[in-house]
Amino acid sequence: MKLAYWMYAGPAHIGTLRVASSFKNVHAIMHAPLGDDYMNVMRSMLERERDFTAATASIVDRHVLARGSQKRVVDNILRKDQEERPDLIILTPTCTSSILQEDLQNFVERASLISNSSVIFADVDHYQVNENQAADRTLEQVVRYYLDRSHTQEALDQFVTSVPSVNIIGIFTLGFHNQHDCRELRRLLRDLDIEINQIIPEGGAVEDLKDLPKAWLNLIPYREVGLMTAMYLNKEYAMPYISTTPMGAVDIAECIRQIHKKIDTLASGSSNKRVDCEPFIDAQTRFVSQAAWFSRSIDCQNLTGKKTVVFGDATHAASITKILAREMGIHVSCAGTFCKHDAEWFKEQIQGFCDEILITDDHAEVGDMIARVEPSAIFGTQMERHIGKRLDIPCGVISAPVHIQNFTLGYRPFLGYEGTNQIADLVYNSFALGMEEHLLDIFGGHDTKEIMDKSLSTNIGLIWNPESRLELSKIPRFVREKVEKNTEKFARQKGIKTITVEVMYAAKEAFGS
C-alpha cells in the first residue's frame, strides 16, 4: 500500500483501450464496474473526437459478484457484434476483473464460436504493467493474431512491394502530438521516395494487417509502443526495424541513414539504385529546418550555460535532453523518466548529456529535484508545468501526461524537420518568458492594477457589516470584485447605508447574475 496523489502512466486497460480504439472498426468491451469507462471521456474531450469511442463496459455489479459474469459478458459481446458489426472485439480486463479471476478467456472462446466478429482477450496483467506497456503488448497481440490466422489460412502474401516501403508502428490515440508527428513522417518518407505500406494502429484496418510483411522494414518512432510488434515481425518474418526516434536534427539524420542503409542492403540484388541521402540531410538541416541556424544566432547565445531540467517518457525526455545539450548548447542539470522498466536504455541514451539522471514515477521526488537544482527552465509533463508554476520557473511541455492544450488544432509535430522548428520555438519561448519575468521583478513590474482599483472604487458612506464582509470573502476571488461593486451600486440605488447578507443577495437577484 502506498500513498499516491498523482501518477505519470495510467492503468493497463487504458493502454489496451487506446490501441483498440485507434484501429478502425474494432470494439473494446471492458469487464469493469460502473464508472471505469472514463477513457471515453478522455478521448472525447482531449482529442475532441467526433465519433463515439468504440469502447463500452460490461458492467460488474453486485449480481456479478454473487453469480459470476459469464452470461453477461458473452451476451454483451454478441450484442456488440449484432449492433456494430466490428471486425474485432477485444475483451479488456480491468483491475477489478483481474481479482475476480473469472475465466474470461473461456468466455471469449465461447463468444467467438457464435459471433461474426473475431474476438480476443487482451492479455495484460493489471498489477504487472502500466498503460504504455499494456498498449505495446496489445498491439503485438492484435498483429500476431491476424498474421497467425492468415498463416493458417495460407492467405499470407509475403512478397515485398516492388518499391521500398515501410510500416510506421506506434501512432495512436491520446499519444503526445502523434497525429502531427504522423503527418511529418509521411512527408519525410515521401521526400526520401519511400512508400508507406501501413500505419498502425491509428486509422488502420485489422483485416489489412496480413499485408504488414509486404513492407521492406518497420519504423518505430516511439520507444514506448511498437517495439514488441517490431521484434515479433523481425523474428517471424525477418523484417528489419529502425527504432531511432527522428527527433532533433542529429537523430533525424541518423534515422534517415539507417533507413537508407537497410534499404540499400535489401535492394542490392535489384536494379533499384538508391541515390545518396547525404545531400538531402544537409539541405534539410541547414535550410529547411531553422533550428541549426537558430542555434548559431545571437538569440540562442543568451541561452548558453542556462540550467535546465528534463523529465518525461523515455522517448521524449531522452531526445529533448540530447537536443538541448548537443544542438542548442544548453546545460541539462538533470534528465529523468518515469518509464522505470526502460531505465537502462534511457541511461545509455543520455550518457554524457546531463549531470545527473533521475528514474522515478513519484512526482514529489521530481518536484524536490527541481527545487534543489533551481533551473532557469523545465521541460517536462503537465505535472512539471505545475511544479514550475509553484516555484516560478517556466516550463515547456514535452511529454505525456498532458492536458487538452497539448492536443493542438494547429500543426505541431515534434518529429522530423518541422519538429525541430517547433521544439526550438518551445525552448526559446520558455526561456524568453523567464527572462522577461526577471526584468519585471527587477524594475518593479508594469502592473498598475492596484492604483486603478482605488480610483474606481466609490464606496464612500457604505458600511459592510461583519457577516456580509465574511460572506463576500467566501465568494470566489475572480467574481468577488464584481459582486462587491454590484452590491454597492444596488445599495446606493436603494438608499441603503449598511450592507447585510440580505442586501447582497437581493442585489444578486436584482442584477440577475
Binding site: 498523482w6 467526433r50 463515439f52 481479482i99
Partner: protein, 457 residues
Amino acid sequence: MSVKIDETLTVECETGNYHTFCPISCVSWLYQKIEDSFFLVVGTKTCGYFLQNALGVMIFAEPRYAMAELEEGDISAQLNDYEGLKRLCIRIRRDRDPSVIIWIGTCTTEIIKMDLEGMAPKLEWEIGIPILVARANGLDYAFTQGEDTVLAAMAHRCPEPLRERKEMKQKVLAFPSREKDELHEYANHPSLVLFGSLPSNVVSQLNLELRRQSIKVSGWLPAQRYTDLPPLGDGVYVCGVNPFLSRTATTLIRREKCELIGAPFPIGPDGTRAWIEKICSVFGVEARGLEEREEQIWESLKDYLDLVRGKSVFFMGDNLLEVSLARFLIRCGMIVHEIGIPYMDKRYQAAELALLRDTCTRMCAPIPRIVEKPDNSNQIRRLRELRPDLAITGMAHANPLEARGISTKWSVEFTFAQIHGSANARDLLELVTRPLRRQRNLEHFGQNTLVRKNNNC
C-alpha cells in the same frame, strides 16, 4: 420491467450499460466543502487515474485527498492491511493534521473484502483522529451517490441535541440583546437540520429564504468543518436539498430517530417555493409572500424563458438530479422526452415526482418517460429518432452528438454549478440555454453535421 408510482408516472428499467462517473468523484467537492477533512481513497491505479483525470487542475492544488494505492501484495493478502493503513494515516496526520480522515472504500476493497469498518474504530483509537468509512464504489453506486454514502457515515458522528435548558439560559444572559432579537425573529418550532453538501454561499441563501418565513436552520450536514457537525436525535426535523441522498435520509430516520420532511428539492423557483412551503406546513408556520416572490423570479427570467419555450430535452441520466431538473424545465415551457436516471428512490423522491406530475398537468405537457439504469446504445438510437433540441449527457457522448447536429449540455456541470434556491435559477438557465445560444450565434456558419457520411451511423 416497470413499476407504477401512481396512475400516471411509470419507471422503466433498462440494462444499466450507461456512462457515469465513479462515486469516488465525490471527494472532489466534499474535501473542499469540509475544510478540515482528509479523504483517503483505498483502491487501485484505476481509481487514482480516474480522479486525476476527472478533477483536472484541482489535482495540482495540494488537495486534501490521496490514494492508498493497493499493490499486488495487498490484493493477495501478503501484506497486513491494518499496518498499511496505519502507516499512511500517521503520515497524513503528520503532514496535514486533519480533524477527520474519511476512508473511501472502492470496488477492490469490496471484492477482497477488506474490513474497513472493522479497522477504523481500532485505528481511530490508536492514532486519535476520527476515521469514517464510506463505501463509495462502482459496484453499488453511481456518481453523486458517493456523497450519499459519505453523509450517511457522517450522520452517525453528529452529537446528541442539547437537552439542558440551563446552558441555553446562560447564553441568553451572556448576550442579552442579541438573543432577544433572535427569539423575536424566529417562530417557535423544533430544530431543523438540512442535509446535502452545497457551496457556502448557497447555504447562506437557503438559510435566508427560510429566515424570511421565521424558520431557523439549526445546522447542516455536512457543516463547513467536521468539528461543527449539527446535533441530531429524537425530535430533530431533517430535510434534504438534493435528490440523491436517500441513504442519508434513511440513516437519519432509522438510526438517528429524526423526522424527515419529504419535500420537492429547492431547484428552480418552483422547487424552492414548494420546498419552503412543505417545511412551513410541517412546522405549522404560515408561508408569506412566496407566490409573489416566485412570480418575481419568473419575471426576471423572461429573456431565457423565451429562448427555451417549446424546445425539447432528453436526459441521458448520470447524476440523479434529472427528475428535479426535468420538472423545472417543463415549468419553463420545455418538452422533456426522456428522463434517464441511474437510480430511482420512489419514496425519497415521492414529493418531487408528485410535483413533476402536477407540473406536466399544469403546463399541458406530456409526461416524460422515466428510465432507470438506462442503456446508452438504446438511448442513442432513441435520440436519433427524436432529434431533441438539447441532450443533457455525459462527456463521453457530448462531442459525438454535437458532431451529429444534436446540441448537448454536459450533465456534470449541474453538479458543480450553483443551482439551488430562487436566486440561482438564472444560473441554472444560463447553463441550459448556453448550447441553444451558441447554436443561435453560429446559425449563419452552417455546418451542423460535422461527420463524414459513412460515419453518420
